[in-house]
């Protein structure tokens, strides 16, 4: 406490005290924080179960003070399905990167969405495989250089970047899809609101909720954190616009 002052913002209690291993400026950390703020504000720590992926956020369970399961690479949607079907009154989320959700896990992702599984996807899309050293991802931009696209992503060889939010919003039983980012405080606040919405809709059993975060990877992109924000604004957002793709009817909410 501070004399003569009112505390208005601090690290949520639903985060552990462990210092996060993510690179400086990485939105993984930001989303971990915003997600745990939502869990704290909704007072659902005891009712939340998360599934973490293989990728930089493989140790998410070290930072989020909720029950979590480690899934094999790409299988988080299937694991989350298992958990939510058994525990329908828990708030279940899968937390995945672009390799996990949009490469190896595409089948699991699409089928969970098609079935309308009532959990929340949190999809961290930073166009690169950070953990394994900076290889190309299904969401790497055209012309973007990575360690396996050293001359720039060539659509003629490997296709164009996948737009997952756009794809999953076509499923009938997917209730809410929004793409957000954390490059400005305003965007970060919106991202938190989107996560909150997703959990509220999950609570009302409206169907699958899917939040895609247009995220950064300063290390993989070989930029400073500030430069990575510029890349997002100039190169990423034009291809991956921040918007609500689908949301429940007013009467359902």
């Amino acid at each position: 406490m501070k004399k003569g002052h009112k505390l208005i913002y601090q690290k949520p209690k639903t985060m552990t005290d462990k210092r996060m291993h993510y690179c400086p400026g990485c939105f993984h950390s930001t989303i971990h924080k915003l997600l745990m703020e939502v869990v704290e504000e909704m007072d659902i720590q005891e009712k939340t179960v998360g599934v973490c992926p293989v990728g930089c956020s493989v140790f998410a369970y070290d930072y989020m003070d909720v029950d979590m399961q480690e899934a094999a690479h790409g299988r988080a949607a299937a694991v989350a399905t298992g958990i939510k079907r058994m525990l329908p009154n828990r708030y279940v989320f899968s937390y995945q990167g672009d390799g996990d959700l949009a490469a190896i896990g595409t089948a699991e992702t699409l089928h969970a969405c098609n079935r309308g599984e009532n959990f929340t996807f949190i999809f961290i899309n930073n166009g690169i495989y950070g953990m394994t050293g900076g290889q190309m991802a299904p969401t790497t931009l055209e012309g973007q250089k990575t360690s396996t696209s050293p001359y720039g992503r060539d659509p003629a060889k490997i296709g164009l970047p996948l737009k997952m939010a756009e794809i999953v919003s076509q499923f009938e039983r997917v209730a809410y899809v929004e793409r957000v980012s954390c490059d400005t405080a305003a965007h970060a606040r919106k991202a938190k609101k989107a996560l909150r919405n997703a959990f509220e809709y999950q609570g009302k059993k409206l169907g699958t909720t899917f939040i895609e975060v247009a995220s950064n990877c300063p290390s993989g992109w070989k930029m400073t954190p500030d430069e990575s924000l510029k890349w997002l604004e100039e190169k990423v957002f034009p291809y991956y616009p921040l918007k609500v793709f689908k949301k429940p009817e007013k009467k359902e909410v």
């Binding site: 913002y9 601090q10 690290k11 400086p24 400026g25 993984h28 924080k33 954390c182 405080a185 500030d226």
Partner: protein, 83 residues
């Protein structure tokens, strides 16, 4: 301008990413270029104490939840509930 609030940094959690400095509307934050934390990183600090307006932008954007924000309580003025 007298400060409307103040911020505190968890120096060890801070990674010196500079996003708080960039997001501050009054430019009152900076990285301490003459000191580092135990990880060798230049942590952020409140450079211009009088300029903090307690907008919370820094704390919201801080990836590492390293920032705590306080609003000054002025008993003489009518308090608005910001919630």
């Amino acid at each position: 301008m007298p400060a409307k609030g103040t911020v505190e940094f968890d120096i060890e959690r801070c990674k010196g990413c500079n996003l708080c400095v960039t997001s501050c509307p009054t430019d009152c934050l900076a990285l301490n270029t003459s000191d580092t934390n135990s990880y060798g990183l230049h942590y952020a600090y409140l450079k211009e104490e009088d300029d903090c307006i307690a907008c919370m932008n820094c704390a919201v954007i801080c990836p590492d939840a390293a920032i705590t924000v306080y609003r000054k309580q002025d008993p003489s003025k009518e308090r608005r509930n910001h919630g």
